[in-house]
Every structure is written in C-alpha cells, then in structure tokens.
C-alpha cells in the first residue's frame, strides 16, 4: 500500500513504483485533473487544503479495505496547495489478478476519498469559491 499527500507535481509513474504488481494480470489507474471550467465559469486553479493527519488516516483505511477484499496492492497520492487547470490533483492505482476487480477497486478508492477524506478545494478563477 502507498498513500501520500503532498505539494508539487504527482504522477502515476511514481505511484506505480511503490506498488507490488508482481504476478498480477491487471493494473488499473486513475488521474484526476483540474477542469478549466466549472458550471460555465472559468477555473484557473484549485487550492486544495487538508487536515493532513486525518486525511492520511482515512486514505489508509480506504485502501486497506480494498486490500482486505483481495486486491494485491493499491495506492493513492493526493496533491494539495495550488494546482493549475489541466494539472493532476490525484492519482490512484490498483494491481490485481483480474481486470474486473481492479476497475471496481480503483473506482471505489477514488469515490470514497472524495466522500470521506477531509480535503477541501477552493476554485480560483472567474469565481472564487469553496466547493
């Protein structure tokens, strides 16, 4: 398992180096990218803020649950601070024996992180607002 929150650029390549995919048949990954427009308004960047200790704890819990369900390895890196439109804000990856459970696990990780992890985003652009 690999979980991290950090400022500065993040990449799937880096995440994958931390995962043990030996002997698996599938690697499914996700990149979340800052959209340049939201509800018709231009977005220049998003400022991500987190409660770091709790966010890391919740991210570990989410990934642990996926591993407990039989996934070989999984990880996620979330970027915080200012992230420009078009830049990557989150990467997630899952190694599994078969593709179906890998797709499902990757979707579950990303969805649960958005729902349960204390990371907030402030859109900065045509309108500045917490979302």
């Amino acid at each position: 398992m690999f979980v991290d929150i950090r400022e500065g650029a993040i990449s799937l390549e880096e995440l994958r180096k931390h995962l043990n995919c030996n002997g698996t048949g599938a690697f499914v990954s996700f990149e979340g990218v800052v959209r340049p427009e939201e509800e018709g308004k231009r977005v220049d960047e998003i400022y991500y803020e987190c409660y770091r200790e709790m966010a890391l704890k919740k991210m570990r819990e989410i990934v642990s649950q996926v591993l407990a369900d039989g996934i070989q390895d999984a990880g996620v890196i979330h970027r915080v601070g200012r992230v420009g439109a078009g830049e990557v804000s989150i990467v997630a990856g899952v190694c599994s024996k078969h593709r179906k459970e890998a797709f499902e696990a990757c979707m579950r990780i990303v969805s649960e992180i958005k729902e349960k992890v204390p990371i907030w985003k402030k859109e900065i652009g045509e309108v500045t607002r917490w979302k």
Binding site: E53, K57, E115, K116, V117, P118, W120, K122, K131
Partner: protein
C-alpha cells in the same frame, strides 16, 4: 482546529472556549455557537472529528483530545458517520 471556509471565516485556525475536563461534542459545539455567533451557520454545516475520527454529538472529549470542525468535503454529504 478549523479548515477551509470555516478557517477563513474565523480568521484563525484554532478557537478556544472555557470547558470542563470531560465534555460532549454537542456541548462543545453549543459553547462555540454562543462564543462565536458569527460562525454559527457555517459550523452548523460542519462535522466534528475527535482524534482524527468523525464524532457524533454524544462522544465525550477529554483534555488533550484533538477536536476539529470539518466543513463539507467536495465530493460528499458526509451522512455516513
């Protein structure tokens, strides 16, 4: 501890209230509402976390515990605690 819009609204990342050695989350929220009425609406939408776990109003807090007000996160209603 305060974060995001609550932190900006309060102009600080921590709030202080006078309290007893052991208090419930609900009692703490009530005292915060009384002391910082300008934050009442925003605090009303926030969840509370004690020692990095989401906590309902009946959870008891002791001296030294870490208490955070958690505004709604972007992707969820946080109705699952």
């Amino acid at each position: 501890m305060l974060f995001a819009q609550l932190r900006e609204l309060a102009g600080t990342d921590t709030l202080e209230i006078d309290g007893d050695e052991i208090m419930s989350v609900g009692e703490i929220k009530k005292r915060l509402y009384e002391k910082f009425p300008q934050l009442r609406e925003a605090m009303g939408r926030a969840l509370c976390a004690v020692n990095e776990e989401y906590a309902r109003d009946e959870v008891l807090v002791r001296e030294g515990d870490r208490i955070a007000l958690i505004p709604p996160v972007s992707g969820g209603a946080c109705l699952w605690i």
